[in-house]
């Protein structure tokens, strides 16, 4: 009985998937989702040691791995600063592979409470590299960033950002 129901719902979901994806104009959405992924979304958690993050500035790094969260027992959240090591970088950038850098988490998939009690979450985990004084290394910031960065005294990142959510 249960098996029959799941298979039925899956089929319906498959047929829906294409239609909705087109309607919303979703780009880069994985259309071949497995059953478990589709029914039970992964529970997002803190940014902790060995979390891979996307770098969304033009400092030259592409992917960094968190090696230390500078705040919080369990790990870093949206707006927190982390120490990371550069895992992938573009040639001719300001940072090289293997560098130990500081970064501000500007997007996190884990929901974060806002000052009014609602919550905000993002598509991915992304970071903007900063130096020890908290000034960004790059000169551009891509994608949306939360306005909570103002509270964390990262006004420079906010002013560079394309969109503020």
């Amino acid at each position: 009985m249960a098996a029959a129901f799941t298979s039925k719902s899956l089929r319906a979901a498959r047929s829906l998937l294409g239609g909705i994806g087109n309607n919303l104009g979703v780009q880069g959405m994985p259309h071949e989702m497995s059953c478990s992924e589709f029914l039970f979304q992964q529970c997002r958690t803190f940014i902790q040691m060995r979390t891979n993050l996307k770098v969304v500035d033009n400092s030259g790094a592409k992917r960094v791995m968190c090696i230390q969260a500078l705040k919080g027992k369990k790990g870093a959240r949206l707006g927190d600063t982390i120490v990371a090591s550069v895992k992938e970088s573009q040639p001719g950038g300001k940072v090289k592979k293997g560098d130990v850098v500081y970064g501000v988490v500007v997007r996190a998939a884990m929901p974060r409470g806002r000052c009014d009690g609602s919550e905000v979450k993002f598509d991915d985990n992304a970071v903007v590299l900063v130096n020890k004084q908290g000034e960004p290394i790059g000169t551009r910031v891509f994608g949306p960033v939360p306005h909570e960065l103002r509270k964390k005294k990262h006004v420079k990142i906010l002013s560079l950002a394309e969109h503020i959510a």
Partner: protein, 166 residues
């Protein structure tokens, strides 16, 4: 303070309620409660889910075009505070709301009008067609009380007399 609309069910999201999801292209999806958020995560289309406003609007269940909806609009320019204006606005809100509710009730009444006569017609038809399931057709011919009222009408007095005798 701004009252946003839920992306899924189009209800009002009051400050401090719900969750918002920011896609990488900076489109913000606001949800009034976890129900709507879960339905979004399941990739459901609000136009195909019956309890959403989008479905009801699409299928003509609710009033869609009305002058009372014109007042509710997104305004990006903050109005300068004026005591009289605020007072009048507060008065108008009540009045407009009353008008809207009345018009909505009328719209629903109009919508149900066709349905009621249709239902009655269908019930009469069913009675006529499937009375055989309760009583055999041969028995029906003998039993005067089970004959449909139309046929009885011709000799209503007679049938009553028959029943009395029984």
């Amino acid at each position: 303070m701004r009252l946003e609309k839920c992306w899924f069910c189009s209800s009002t999201v009051y400050p401090g309620h719900g969750i918002q999801f920011v896609r990488n292209d900076a489109k913000i999806f606001r949800f009034c409660r976890s129900k709507c958020h879960k339905n979004f995560k399941m990739k459901r289309n609000p136009r195909k889910v019956k309890w959403t406003k989008a479905y009801r609007r699409l299928h003509g269940k609710d009033m869609t075009q009305d002058s009372t909806f014109e007042f509710e609009r997104k305004r990006n320019r903050p109005e300068r505070y004026d005591r009289n204006l605020a007072e009048n606005t507060l008065k108008a809100i009540k009045k407009i709301d009353k008008v809207r509710v009345e018009r909505e009730a009328r719209h629903h009444e109009n919508r149900f009008k066709g349905k009621r006569s249709k239902e009655q017609k269908e019930a009469a038809k069913e009675l006529k067609q499937s009375i055989d399931m309760i009583r055999a057709p041969a028995a029906l011919q003998q039993e005067p009380s089970l004959i449909l009222p139309k046929k009885v009408k011709v000799s209503s007095q007679q049938s009553e007399e028959n029943r009395m005798e029984e």
